[in-house]
């Protein structure tokens, strides 16, 4: 299963049946994680990164990871911070303490979205049925993270491996997103 592991945070939920399991592409529900939305100006980044455990990336569409930590660039002043589900309070308090009076906004958005792991040789092809982005490795290298549109639903797309993507969407949109992915995947198998 190691090739299906997105990274040490976004892992397949062992208690859930795969949404799609085919030789060349699979869709797996991911375990819940702590998601924090961090917004702040440049002057606050160093302290925030230090308190969180990994530096916040400043390069557009990039990520930075450490064991059990991931910081994803969402915008010039916005990051999504990922940590294990049970570490929510510890991480939240550490960042608030590390920043003190520095102006910033830290919000727990853990339950706002759900993630699925799309992996396999055909993962890129499958996602491209609803996402108008060049997902080749040259244009969208491993580690690239972006918000975009999947058909009509806003999603976050994060490439964690050459053949592995994490697709995150709001809870109420997840049935739509994963449903369309599964449907297209099944058509791929039938073709």
């Amino acid at each position: 299963m190691s090739d299906l592991l997105a990274n040490d945070l976004i892992t397949p939920d062992a208690g859930e049946a795969p949404l799609l399991a085919q030789a060349d592409v699979s869709i797996l529900k991911a375990v819940p994680v702590t998601r924090l939305s961090y917004r702040g100006r440049e002057g606050s980044l160093k302290a925030a990164g230090k308190a969180f455990g990994v530096a916040l990336p400043v390069q557009p569409l990039s990520n930075s990871t450490a064991p059990k930590r991931a910081a994803l660039w969402m915008g010039p002043d916005e990051w999504t911070l990922l940590a294990p589900e049970e570490e929510l309070n510890a991480v939240f308090e550490a960042i608030e303490k590390g920043l003190g009076d520095t102006p910033h906004a830290l919000v727990d958005v853990s339950h706002r979205s759900l993630a699925v792991i799309v992996s396999g040789a055909k993962a890129e092809w499958l996602l491209n049925t609803g996402i108008f982005i060049d997902l080749s490795l040259e244009a969208f290298p491993v580690g690239t993270v972006t918000r975009t549109i999947f058909h009509k639903a806003p999603v976050m797309l994060w490439r964690t491996g050459p053949d592995t993507f994490v697709v995150e969407s709001w809870v109420s949109f997840m049935d739509y997103v994963s449903g369309l992915l599964v449907q297209v995947g099944q058509e791929l198998a039938a073709a």
Partner: protein, 101 residues
């Protein structure tokens, strides 16, 4: 579909990720209480509705969420320049000339 370049993300993306928010470089009067009704109407509603090259605001709503400005030719629908919010308006005539309009 139009391809729009986001100067914050440094990528070109499909138009569906963006929202166009009308003419750029319209400054809100610093002290609205001192503005006459007529001037306020002009500020609020009146736009140049240019045929040709003009600057407009775009927002990368399904990406980084940032506003930025673009120079677009409204006749050909071609984008001629993208620049970040807060930067001064480029010389539209020069851009138009360069594009051969």
């Amino acid at each position: 579909m139009l391809l729009v370049y986001c100067p914050y993300c440094d990528v070109e993306r499909a138009e569906t990720e963006f929202a166009c928010r009308g003419e750029a470089h319209i400054a809100r009067p610093a002290d609205p209480t001192q503005v006459s009704d007529e001037d306020w109407v002009n500020y609020l509603y009146m736009r140049t509705n240019t045929k040709g090259v003009y600057a407009e605001r775009w927002r990368h709503i399904h990406g980084c969420g940032r506003f930025f400005n673009a120079v677009r030719d409204t006749v050909s629908d071609r984008f001629l320049k993208f620049y970040k919010a807060g930067e001064t308006m480029p010389d539209l005539e020069a851009i138009a000339k360069e594009a051969g309009k």
